[in-house]
C-alpha cells in the first residue's frame, strides 16, 4: 500500500494527542508529589472582573484574569500523566547533550552535589546579616553576659570541589566563611572546614541530599565542643543504627536521577542514653507538641527522611534533659543543625532552638533571653549568606 506509512503516523500521532490527556484525566495523581517533594499546582476559577480591574496597571504580567489560564496551564502540566517519567526523560536528554548541571545539581560518579556560585551582590547581602548578628551578640554579651559562637558549615560543593566538572566555577566557601568570621567581632568562630576536609573519604555528606550525614554533624559537634567548653564523646563510643537505607533526598527531587545509590540514615547513640530522660517541645507555629525523643521515626517511612532528625523545620524547639548541669544553650539554626543537636543534648540541661525563617515577632517575647549563658549559630554557609531572616536580630535586645 503506497500510503501506509502516512496512515501509521497519523494513527500514532492522533493516539498520542488523545490518549495522553485521556489518561491524565483518568488517573489524576495525588496533590503532593513525594519524589519531587512539593505540592502540585491547583487553579482557581476565572476572575474576569479582577482582570478588567487590573488591566490598566502597569505590569501586564500581573494581570489577574490570566491567573485562570496560567493556573490551568501549570495545573495541567503538574498533573500530566506519567509526569515523573517525562521529567526523567528530559533530564536524560539534558545529560545526553553533555550538560553537567541539572536543575542546579551536579551528578558526579555516585554522588549529587548542589551547585553554589557567588551571586552578584553576595558581599553586600552578607554584610547586612553580619551586622545584625554581630550587634545582637554584642548586646547579649553586654546585657546578659552571654557568650556567642558561630559555626558556618561548608556544603559538599566545597569539600568535593575537585570532583566538580572543569571550569564550573564553584563559589569559594572557604573564603566566604573566613570573611564572615573576620567580620564578627563579638562571636567566637568555630572552624569545621578542616575536620570535614580531612574526613572527606568518609560518609560525611549524603549522596542524594544537600545535608551532612550524622557522621558529618559529629565532626561539627566535635569542633564546636572545644569552643563551647564541653568534652565531646569519642566517636568510637557511639552505637550506630542504620535507621533507613533507602533515603533519596532533596537533590534527588531536583533531578529524579535513580542511578545514584540511595542514602543511609544513621542514628548515633550512647549506651547511657537509655537511662536518661529527655523532653522535646516543638512549637511548629500552629500547636505545641511534646515528645521524649529527638528522632521522629515516622519520617523514615516518608520521602523526606532527613526530617527524622527533630522533624520538619519549626520556629521554636526546646530540648529539656536531665543532664547534671545548669548550662543552657540558645541555638539559631537552619536544618543543618538538626542532626547535630542530638550530640549536644547530653551536655546541656536546656537547649532552645530558633529558626528565624519562621519567626516574625520579637524573639524577646518568645524566649527569656537572660536564661542562656551560651548562644550558638549553626548554618550552612550558602544559606547563611543568602537568607535574609537573620537580619531580624537587628532589632532584638536593643
Amino acid at each position: 500500500m503506497k500510503n501506509l506509512h502516512k496512515k501509521i503516523l497519523f494513527v500514532l500521532f492522533t493516539a498520542l494527542i488523545i490518549g495522553l490527556p485521556a489518561a491524565t484525566f483518568m488517573f489524576m495523581p495525588p496533590l503532593f508529589s513525594e519524589n519531587e517533594n512539593r505540592y502540585l499546582a491547583t487553579f482557581s476559577a476565572p476572575d474576569f472582573s479582577g482582570y478588567l480591574r487590573n488591566f490598566f496597571n502597569k505590569t501586564p504580567n500581573n494581570i489577574k484574569g490570566k491567573q485562570f489560564m496560567n493556573g490551568f496551564d501549570s495545573w495541567f502540566a503538574d498533573r500530566f500523566v506519567l509526569r515523573e517519567d517525562w521529567i526523567i526523560l528530559q533530564n536524560e536528554l539534558e545529560m545526553l547533550q553533555g550538560k553537567t548541571e541539572i536543575n542546579g545539581v551536579f551528578v558526579v560518579g555516585d554522588r549529587m552535589i548542589q551547585s553554589w556560585r557567588e551571586e552578584a551582590e553576595l558581599i553586600q547581602n552578607v554584610d547586612l546579616t553580619l551586622r545584625a548578628v554581630d550587634g545582637f551578640a554584642k548586646r547579649m554579651g553586654d546585657i546578659y553576659g552571654a557568650e556567642s559562637h558561630i559555626m558556618l558549615v561548608p556544603t559538599a560543593a566545597e569539600i568535593y570541589k575537585e570532583l566538580l566538572p572543569p571550569n564550573s566555577q564553584p563559589g569559594n566557601q572557604d573564603a566566604l566563611i573566613r570573611y564572615c568570621y573576620d567580620n564578627l567581632a563579638h562571636l567566637t568562630s568555630i572552624g569545621v572546614m578542616t575536620y570535614l576536609s580531612e574526613n572527606s573519604d568518609r560518609y560525611i555528606y549524603y549522596r542524594t541530599d544537600h545535608h551532612w550525614t550524622t557522621h558529618g554533624s559529629y565532626l561539627g559537634y566535635f569542633a564546636a565542643a572545644q569552643k563551647l567548653g564541653i568534652t565531646p564523646h569519642d566517636f568510637g563510643r557511639f552505637n550506630v543504627e542504620h535507621a533507613s537505607s533507602d533515603f533519596r533526598g532533596t537533590l534527588f527531587s531536583k533531578t529524579l536521577n535513580f542511578r545514584v545509590t540511595p542514602d543511609i540514615i544513621q542514628f548515633f547513640s550512647l549506651a547511657s542514653d537509655n537511662d536518661r530522660e529527655l523532653l522535646l517541645r516543638v512549637n511548629n507555629g500552629a500547636e505545641i507538641i511534646e515528645r521524649d525523643s529527638l528522632y521522629f521515626r515516622e519520617f523514615l517511612d516518608k520521602k523526606d527522611k532527613y526530617a527524622a532528625f527533630m522533624g520538619l523545620n519549626s520556629p521554636i524547639m526546646e530540648v529539656i534533659t536531665d543532664a547534671p548541669t545548669q548550662k543552657s544553650l540558645l541555638i539559631f539554626k537552619d536544618s543543618f543543625a538538626h542532626s547535630m543537636i542530638p550530640f549536644l543534648a547530653s551536655h546541656y540541661s536546656h537547649i532552645t532552638v530558633l529558626d528565624m525563617r519562621y519567626i516574625n515577632t520579637d524573639i524577646a517575647e518568645l524566649v527569656e533571653l537572660q536564661n542562656y549563658s551560651q548562644i550558638l549559630f549553626v548554618y550552612s554557609v550558602d544559606n547563611f549568606a543568602e537568607d535574609r531572616n537573620l537580619r531580624k536580630l537587628e532589632r532584638v535586645g536593643g
Partner: protein, 473 residues
C-alpha cells in the same frame, strides 16, 4: 495560547480536530473562527475585542467597496478609512507609549502618558486585514461576503498570533472550498512536529545560554565577561531567534495543512545566504513581501531611477525596523540593515559575487551576528558595550575565561546541532537517501517524528523557560 504548551497540544488540538473533522463542511469556518477566538483569548482575554473590532471594520469596509463598485471616490474613501483605522490601532497600542515618551522628552514635561500592554499579534493581524482591503481596492481579489469566512481568515488559530502574514489572496479559494486529504494531514503533522522540535528542543535550550549572558549584559556586569562569552551569547541568540521563529512558522504551516490550507512559506534557510539582500529574501519572507507589495512597489520600486530606488529601499528598511518594535534600537537596527542592502545594490554586491561562496556566507553571518545586539539590547550604551566586548574592548580583558569554557562544555553539542539543523544538509541527505531507497525515508520518518514529539512533551511537562520571541512584535 501558544503551540508549545501542553494545554494546546493535548487539549485544544485534539478537541478542535475531532470537532472539526466531525462537523459538516459548511460549519468548518465557524469552528475555525470560534477556535481562533478561544485560542487568542486564552492569552488576551480582554484585547480579543480589539481583534474582533478590527475584523468587523475591515469586513464592513470591504462590503462597502463592493456595494459602491462604480463610485471610485467612495471606494477610495473606504480604503483610506481602513488604512487609517488599522494603522491607528497599531499606532496607539504599539507606538503610543514610545511616541508620547519622545514628545514628552522634547517638550521637557509630561504631556501624554500612554502605557498600554501590547495586544498579542497586533502587528500581524493588522497587516493581514490591510492586505485584504488594499487588494480589494486594486481589484486583485473579490469581496468576501460571508462575515464568518472573513473572520475565520483573520482569526484562525494557526496564524493569528505570530504569522506567517497570510494575505487574503493566499487563502481566498481555500476559505470557500477546501479538502482534507491524507497527504495534507501527513505533511501537516510532520511539519508541525518538526517546528515544535525546533522551538522546544533547540530554541528554548540554546536560549537559556543567551538569557544568562543577556542578564549579565543588562546588569552591566561586563567586568566579569570575556570576549568569548559575548560571542557565545550572541551566537546562541542568533540560533535561538531563527529556530524560535522559523519553528513557529513551521508549526503554523503544518497546522494549516492539517485543516486544509496552504500558507505561504516564511523561511528558506536564511543562514545559508550569500548577501544581506538574499538573507532578507529568505528570512520572514511574508513580511518582506508585504512591504514589497504595499510600500516598495507603490513608491515606484526600482523603476524610477537609481536615487529613487535607494530612497525607496531606505523607507522600507526604516519601516521594517519600526515594525519590530517601538524603540530606538529597532530603528537603528532597520537603518543598519538598510545601509547594508543599499551598499550591496551600489557596489558590495559585485564584490560578493566574485568571492568564493563560503566567504560571502561568512560576511553575511558576521553582519547578522553583529546586528543582533542592536536588536536585543535596550539602550545604546548596552549595545556599544556589548559590541565593544565582542571586538575585545572592555570586559575582564580575557579572550577565553572559565565561564566561556564552561559554556562550551555544556552547550557544545547543542551548538553543533544548531549549525547542522539550520543548514540544508539534513534535507540534502534525506533526498539522497530517498533516491536510493524511498521506503527508508517514508518509514524512517515515523520514529523520528514520534521521538521529537515525545521529547518535546518531556520538556514541556517540566517547562521552565518557554518564551515566544515574535509575540512582542
Amino acid at each position: 495560547m501558544v503551540f508549545s504548551n501542553l494545554t494546546f497540544l493535548f487539549l485544544f488540538l485534539p478537541l478542535f480536530f475531532l470537532t472539526y473533522l466531525a462537523a459538516p463542511k459548511f460549519l468548518r469556518n465557524t469552528l475555525l473562527f470560534i477556535g481562533g477566538i478561544i485560542f487568542y483569548a486564552w492569552g488576551e482575554p480582554f484585547y480579543v475585542f480589539v481583534l474582533l473590532i478590527s475584523v468587523l471594520f475591515d469586513y464592513l469596509l470591504g462590503m462597502a467597496m463592493h456595494k459602491y463598485d462604480n463610485n471610485p471616490k467612495l471606494r477610495k474613501a473606504a480604503l483610506i478609512t481602513s488604512i487609517i483605522m488599522n494603522l491607528s490601532l497599531l499606532g496607539l497600542f504599539k507606538y503610543g507609549g514610545f511616541i508620547a515618551e519622545n514628545i514628552n522628552l522634547i517638550a521637557g514635561r509630561e504631556l501624554f502618558n500612554i502605557d498600554l500592554p501590547l495586544p498579542i499579534g497586533i502587528s500581524f493581524y493588522t497587516f493581514q486585514t490591510l492586505s485584504y482591503t488594499i487588494d480589494l481596492y486594486r481589484r486583485r481579489i473579490t469581496v468576501q461576503k460571508n462575515p464568518i469566512n472573513f473572520a475565520a481568515f483573520v482569526t484562525m488559530f494557526p496564524q493569528v498570533v505570530a504569522g506567517p502574514i497570510v494575505r487574503y489572496e493566499d487563502v481566498a479559494l481555500e476559505l470557500d472550498k477546501r479538502e482534507i486529504t491524507l497527504e495534507m494531514v501527513y505533511e501537516g503533522i510532520c511539519r508541525f512536529v518538526m517546528g515544535l522540535g525546533k522551538k522546544v528542543l533547540i530554541a528554548n535550550n540554546i536560549g537559556i545560554l543567551w538569557s544568562s549572558v543577556k542578564g549579565m549584559a543588562i546588569a552591566g556586569e561586563y567586568s566579569h565577561m570575556s570576549t568569548a562569552t559575548a560571542w557565545l551569547g550572541i551566537i546562541a541568540f542568533t540560533f535561538q531567534i531563527y529556530f524560535d521563529f522559523s519553528g513557529y512558522s513551521d508549526m503554523a504551516i503544518g497546522l494549516g495543512k492539517i485543516i486544509g490550507f496552504k500558507f505561504p512559506e516564511n523561511f528558506n534557510y536564511p543562514y545559508s545566504s550569500l548577501s544581506i539582500s538574499e538573507f532578507w529574501r529568505r528570512w520572514h519572507i511574508t513580511l518582506g513581501n508585504w512591504f514589497k507589495s504595499y510600500v516598495y512597489f507603490p513608491m515606484g520600486g526600482s523603476r524610477r531611477g537609481k536615487l529613487r530606488t535607494l530612497i525607496n529601499l531606505g523607507v522600507v528598511w526604516l519601516l521594517t525596523g519600526i515594525w519590530h518594535g517601538a524603540n530606538w534600537n529597532f530603528i537603528l537596527w532597520g537603518v543598519f540593515m538598510g545601509v547594508l542592502v543599499i551598499s550591496e545594490k551600489l557596489f558590495l554586491g559585485k564584490i560578493l559575487d566574485k568571492l568564493p561562496w563560503f566567504l560571502s556566507n561568512i560576511y553575511v553571518m558576521v553582519m547578522v551576528i553583529f546586528m543582533w545586539p542592536i536588536f536585543e539590547l535596550p539602550t545604546l550604551s548596552h549595545i556599544a558595550s556589548y559590541i565593544g566586548l565582542m571586538l575585545g574592548i572592555g570586559g575582564n580583558g580575557l579572550f577565553l575565561d572559565q565561564q566561556a569554557a564552561y559554556m562550551i562544555l555544556n552547550y557544545g553539542v547543542m551548538f553543533t546541532i544548531c549549525i547542522v539543523a539550520c543548514s540544508e544538509l539534513p534535507k540534502t541527505v534525506a533526498q539522497a537517501i530517498r533516491r536510493r531507497c524511498p521506503a527508508l525515508v517514508d518509514y524512517g520518518t515515523i520514529p523520528v517524528i514520534l521521538a521529537i514529539f515525545i521529547g518535546c512533551t518531556a520538556y514541556l511537562v517540566n517547562a521552565g523557560y518557554n518564551p515566544f520571541l515574535y509575540f512582542n512584535f
